[in-house]
Each structure stands twice: as structure tokens, then as C-alpha cells.
């Protein structure tokens, strides 16, 4: 039986090297390469933040006859503009839903709030674990978000809910970097959270900027939680940093893209579909836990993860909340007030 052949093109908004979201998407290409070998050609390009360049890039991919194009939600408008012109190409848009259904667009949205919930639960438990010299007596944890936008707040409301669930007296100190690239600013903010508000764990959802949070963790000798990929494992050459990352809440962009490609190769029709995936699909999960964590906490968290996977935990989502509700929720735990 001859395997069908396919060309894949990944368009990255922003740039690689974030050890998270974008790198994860890039990882899908490796998985595809590994499984399909010569039957799949893969290619990617980094487009930066200039949205004007997105539509021609999509156009280019279509005109070149790529079978599958991966792009993130930042391409939402561009996809709407271009996709219909190249019906033979399948556009897989991840991390958001396309507004109007188009026959050759498959869009994937993730349950970010579940990831936030996992992180919050961990932080809420760990901050009580004062046996660890890195943990102080205050019940304060931190959050650094990229922007005050729904995609990020989805992580945040999950984080708040998870932390409150495990630790009702939890206080959270939070900042928005207002950029997904400004590592220095994220570090400044995390430093303030660690030093001035005694947060012992900071979670970030700030893309590349979030790497600054780990720098701050190293500088203060406190813990952090990674996002999107197993970030601890990516700091092989910086053990000091890796040791301070308790875990990461993985959002398996790589897996979802790979699976989409598999389905495409198997002839499944994906165009026009939208999916909403999370823990249940194995897309959102803890990365391996740090060995500094006590076994009791690990077990509790593993159980929690299983419950979420089974749909037994109700988790709020920023997508179904109004601005006021989000404000109120944030205010109720704000450590600075």
C-alpha cells in the first residue's frame, strides 16, 4: 500500500525560542517527520509581530500547494482573508476558533483554564509546605500574564480557582507584562512579587517574556511554575533554573497538531470543524514534578488531574465571564489590597 504524501508548512507569529507555545508547535513538525519520514516534508518560518505580513504568507503557502498549513490564532483575520482562495489546502489554526466557518479551516481551542487550575492547585498546596526552606509562612503566590486578554485571563481564573480550592486563604499577586516578548519587564515584575509580596511560587502565562520569571526565581531562590511545555526539561544546561521549576502545565500544541496531521493523512475530513480540547484529550497535563515536592502533594495533584480529566471538576472559564466578574475574582484574592 502506498502512503499518501503531504507537505506541511508552519507559520509562526512572533518567534521561536520561547521554550513554550511556539517551540511546542515547532515540535509537531519533528513528530511528523519522525512518523512519516519521506512522505512528509515539513517547513516553518518565523513572521514576527507584523500582522500585515500574515496574509501574504498564508497566500504563499496556498499558492505553493502545501497540503497542510499550521498557524496560530494570531492569523485569525488572515485565514479568513485567504483560506477560501486555496480550497485544496487545509489550514489548521490552533489556540482559538475561526470566526466564520470556512470549509478548509480546522480550528483548535485549548482549555487554558484547566492548565491554570492545575498550576493554582499546586501553588496553593506548596505554599503551605513550610518544611521547605524556600517556602515562607505567608499564603501568597504570584502570577505574571502576558496581557490582560481573554486567552491569558483564562489561565488566570483557572489559577485562582485551583489555588482557592486547595488553600482558601490564598492571596495572589499578579502583573501583566503587556507584551509577550519583554523578558526584562517580566523579570522586574516577578522580582517584585517574590521580594516585596513574599510570593513563594510564581506562575506565568506570558510566552517568551515569561522566561524572565525563571530569571527572577534564580535571583531570589524561589519557585516558579512553567507553562505550555515541560520547561524544566529545557534548561538542561542551567540546572539552577530547572531545579526551581516545580512543574509546568503542558498545553500540548505539538500533540494536537500532530494528531490533526495524522487524521488528515488518514483521510479524515477536518475542514470546517472546531474543537475545544483539554485534559480529557490528554492535551493539558502536568509535566513531571520537581523532586523537591513532597510525595503527599504529588499524589494529591495526580488525583486532581485524574478528576479533571474525568470531567469531575468544574472550572470557571474567562470565556464565559464578563469583565466585571473577572475583576471581582481577581480583586478577591489580590495580595496587594
Amino acid at each position: 500500500q502506498t502512503q499518501k504524501k503531504a507537505n506541511v508548512f508552519l507559520l509562526i507569529s512572533g518567534s521561536l525560542g520561547d521554550k513554550g507555545f511556539n517551540d511546542s508547535a515547532r515540535g509537531a513538525l519533528d513528530m511528523i517527520k519522525q512518523k512519516y519520514g519521506a512522505n512528509a516534508t515539513v517547513k516553518y518560518t518565523e513572521l514576527g509581530t507584523d500582522v500585515a505580513k500574515f496574509a501574504p504568507a498564508l497566500e504563499d503557502a496556498g499558492a505553493e500547494g502545501y497540503d497542510v498549513v499550521f498557524c496560530s490564532n494570531n492569523f485569525n483575520s488572515a485565514v479568513q482573508e485567504v483560506a477560501a482562495r486555496y480550497p485544496k489546502t487545509l489550514y489548521v489554526m490552533y489556540d482559538g476558533w475561526i470566526k466564520e466557518d470556512i470549509g478548509n479551516v480546522y480550528s483548535i481551542q485549548y482549555k487554558n483554564s484547566e492548565a491554570g487550575y492545575l498550576a493554582g492547585a499546586l501553588a496553593g498546596l506548596m505554599t503551605k509546605y513550610t518544611a521547605d526552606p524556600k517556602i515562607n509562612a505567608d499564603n501568597v503566590i504570584g502570577f505574571v500574564g502576558g496581557r490582560d486578554i481573554t486567552g491569558i485571563n483564562d489561565f488566570f481564573v483557572g489559577y485562582i480557582a485551583g489555588a482557592q480550592k486547595m488553600n482558601p486563604s490564598i492571596k495572589i499577586i499578579y502583573n501583566y507584562v503587556n507584551s509577550f516578548t519583554d523578558t526584562a519587564k517580566a523579570k522586574d515584575q516577578a522580582l517584585v512579587q517574590y521580594k516585596s509580596y513574599n510570593a513563594d511560587i510564581v506562575y506565568h502565562a506570558a510566552g517568551r517574556a515569561g522566561l524572565g520569571v525563571f530569571d527572577a526565581a534564580v535571583e531570589t531562590g524561589k519557585y516558579a511554575i512553567g507553562v505550555d511545555t515541560d520547561q524544566a526539561s529545557l534548561f538542561g544546561n542551567e540546572p539552577k533554573k530547572a531545579d526551581l521549576i516545580l512543574t509546568s502545565t503542558m498545553k500540548r500544541v505539538d500533540l494536537t497538531l500532530f494528531q490533526a496531521f495524522e487524521k488528515f493523512m488518514n483521510g479524515e475530513k477536518l475542514g470546517g470543524k472546531k474543537v475545544y480540547v483539554g485534559a480529557a484529550e490528554g492535551v493539558i497535563a502536568y509535566a513531571p514534578f520537581n523532586k523537591a515536592m513532597p510525595a503527599s502533594i504529588k499524589t494529591e495533584l495526580e488525583k486532581l488531574q485524574a478528576d479533571i480529566k474525568a470531567g469531575k471538576v468544574s472550572i470557571p472559564s474567562a470565556f464565559s465571564m464578563t469583565a466585571d466578574e473577572i475583576n471581582k475574582m481577581r480583586d478577591s484574592v489580590n495580595a496587594a489590597k
Binding site: S13, T45, G48, T49, D50, V51, A52, K53, A55, P56, A57, E59, D60, A63, N73, N74, N76, S77, Q80, E81, R85, D95, G96, K99, Q109, N112, R147, D148, I149, T150, G151, D154, N178, S179, F180, F319, A323
Partner: protein
């Protein structure tokens, strides 16, 4: 026609024109050399770089689309440069203009045609007022206009994204995006199945308007004289302060309109994740045009050509798009160097005078 003839026969204007041409060609050449250094497949890369607009039709339209915003900022900077000012505030005008247009494009309802026009005018006025700030700071407090405009650009960027984020954001979207524009706000497309929009014609119209304004009206006359020698202008009775102010207003106005045109023409919602900073591109466009609005389309075309080529090449190969900033920098450096610009002219002049004197003394 006359002016074109003069352009090609008059030594005074020919020398700088040749230098401009030289700067363009030299930077292209430097770019090609650079490609050969970094690319594994240089021939293919160079081909993609140089021929992009002709290889694919959408690249050609993209070229025209790219010209629109930089034509606006280029025109705006022509006016500022006519005054010999260095303000870059048009960046803030452009960005804020886009924000104002977004507000009007999403919140109010008006009939098509009128809707974008109203937005453009409002954006222009806001942009114009912003454009005034560095000029006022300079006149009143002698603050260097380049530095103050750069600081203000940050302030207005944050201000603008604040408005988008808290008043105009589409909360159902994961990413930063404003609410979708009303249908009536969108400019029609010029060519079906492309993004080329009516804004291109609007930009062309402004090229004509600004050319007429600068060279055929008394206000343009005042701006040019004030720039040529402000001390003289004051002495001759030109109200220098108000000239500087309205020139900056108009410059900012162009920036604001540019932002609005870009929104209603190219996009369906405000989706800039960062400030696209077309003003910096405008610097090069205006310099290449030698601050004459007539030449802005030509230099915008050249600039867009570089950009589209670099873009295409980087998607297709292994040369990063950012390499064109090297070329842009090179162009500015060459054009800014008096020594280079004047070298040939002065040598020519000196030779001739010495020859004459020898003849005289004989």
C-alpha cells in the same frame, strides 16, 4: 514637465539625485553580497529577493499594499523635513489614528462611504494635535524634538493600546483584537480576491494634495522658506511659530489619516500586537524622495519592493527578513553623509574655478 526637464539638466538637482540612485543601487548590491554570505542557496534567494513581485501576483498586490502606510508616513515626514525638523511623532499620530478609527469603526453607525471618511478626518485631527506636541516642546522649552517625540511615541503607544484593551477589545477572542469593524467602515477592495484596497487611491490622492500644498500654496511656500532659513523667515515677516505649528499639525494629520486608512482598508479589526512603527520606514521614504512629496510614490515603491522581496525570500529560504534593515540603515547613512553627497559637486566646482583663474592670470 518643465520641472522634470530642469531636474535632468540642472547640475544643482542632478547631483543629489544621482547620489540617491547610487544609495539605492549600492544598498541593493550590498544586500546581494550579504545573501551570498549567509544563504546556502544564494542564487535562488537572490532571485526571490529581486523578482518577488513578478514571480507571484499576490506579491505584486502586496507590494502595492505595503506602499500605502509608508506613503502616508513618508509624506508626513516630507513636511517635517522641509522644516529641517527631526520629529518622529508621526509614529504616534499613525498609531493613535488607527486607534481612533477603530473606536469609530466599531462603536458608531454611519452609511458606507461616510463612515470611513468621518473616521479618517477624526483620526487626522487627533493625529495632527499629537503632531503638534514636540513642536510646542521645542518652541517653548527648546526640547530636542527627536528625543521628545520618541518619548511621546511610547506614551501614545501605551495610551492607544490601553484604549483598545479596555474599551474596544473583543472579549470572545483569545488574542488581542478589537471588536470587528462595522461593514460600513470597511473600504472596498480594488481588485477582487486581493487585499488591495481603495486606500491605495486615497494615498495617491494625498501625494497630489501634499505636492500641491507644498509647492503651489502660500502655506507650503512659508514652510519651505522657514525650513531654508528660519532666521530669514522671521526677518521677512513670516509668522515662523505658526508655520512650524501648522506644518506639524498637517504632518500629524497625514499620519492619523494613514492609520485610519490602514485600518479600514486592510483589516477587519484592530489586531496589531505591537506598534508597526511605519514612521521609521517613512524616514527612509522621505529621505529617498529628498523631502519632495512628488517623489514619495517612487521611493515608497522602492522601499516596498525591498520589503516584499525580503519577505518572500525569507519565507522561501534561509535568509532572515530582518536583513533589509541593514540595507535601510545603509541607505540613510549614505544619504545623510554630506561628504558623499557633495564630494563630486565640490570637486567639479573647484576644478573649474581654478582653471578659470589660470586663464585670467595669463
Amino acid at each position: 514637465m518643465n520641472s522634470i526637464k530642469r531636474f535632468f539638466t540642472d547640475r544643482e538637482s542632478l547631483a543629489p539625485a544621482l547620489v540617491t540612485l547610487f544609495a539605492g543601487l549600492f544598498s541593493l548590491l550590498a544586500g546581494i553580497v550579504l545573501i551570498f554570505i549567509v544563504s546556502k542557496n544564494p542564487v535562488q534567494s537572490v532571485r526571490n529577493f529581486l523578482l518577488a513581485p513578478f514571480l507571484r501576483s499576490y506579491n505584486f498586490y502586496y507590494l502595492l499594499i505595503v506602499m500605502v502606510p509608508i506613503t502616508f508616513t513618508g509624506l508626513a515626514l516630507c513636511i517635517v523635513y522641509q522644516l529641517r525638523y527631526m520629529s518622529l511623532i508621526v509614529d504616534a499620530s499613525f498609531y493613535t489614528g488607527a486607534v481612533v478609527a477603530t473606536a469609530l469603526g466599531t462603536l458608531i453607525s454611519l452609511p458606507s462611504g461616510v463612515h470611513p471618511a468621518v473616521a479618517m478626518i477624526a483620526a487626522g485631527i487627533v493625529g495632527g494635535l499629537i503632531g503638534l506636541l514636540p513642536a510646542i516642546l521645542k518652541i517653548r522649552w527648546r526640547a530636542n524634538e527627536l528625543v521628545s517625540s520618541l518619548m511621546l511615541n511610547y506614551v501614545f503607544y501605551f495610551l492607544g493600546s490601553f484604549v483598545i484593551l479596555y474599551y474596544l477589545r473583543d472579549r470572545s477572542q483569545t488574542i488581542l483584537s478589537s471588536l470587528p469593524f462595522k461593514k460600513t467602515f470597511l473600504l472596498p477592495r480594488l481588485v477582487a480576491n486581493t487585499q488591495l484596497h481603495v486606500g491605495f487611491l486615497i494615498a495617491a490622492g494625498f501625494v497630489v494634495l501634499v505636492s500641491i500644498f507644498l509647492y503651489r500654496t502660500r502655506w507650503g511656500y512659508e514652510i519651505r522658506l522657514t525650513g531654508a532659513n528660519p532666521r530669514f523667515a522671521m526677518y521677512a515677516g513670516i509668522p515662523v511659530t505658526s508655520v512650524i505649528l501648522y506644518a506639524h499639525f498637517i504632518s500629524g494629520f497625514l499620519g492619523g489619516v494613514g492609520g485610519a486608512v490602514e485600518m479600514s482598508g486592510l483589516y477587519r479589526a484592530f489586531i496589531w500586537q505591537m506598534n508597526p512603527s511605519y514612521a521609521w520606514d517613512g524616514v527612509i521614504v522621505a529621505m529617498l524622495a529628498r523631502r519632495n512629496p512628488k517623489f514619495v510614490p517612487l521611493s515608497a515603491l522602492f522601499f516596498a519592493y525591498l520589503r516584499v522581496g525580503a519577505d518572500f525570500m525569507s519565507r522561501r529560504g534561509d535568509v532572515a527578513f530582518e536583513f533589509i534593515t541593514l540595507l535601510q540603515g545603509l541607505i540613510i547613512l549614505i544619504l545623510a553623509s554630506d561628504r558623499i553627497v557633495n564630494y563630486f559637486r565640490e570637486r567639479q566646482l573647484r576644478k573649474q574655478l581654478l582653471k578659470n583663474s589660470r586663464r585670467e592670470s595669463r
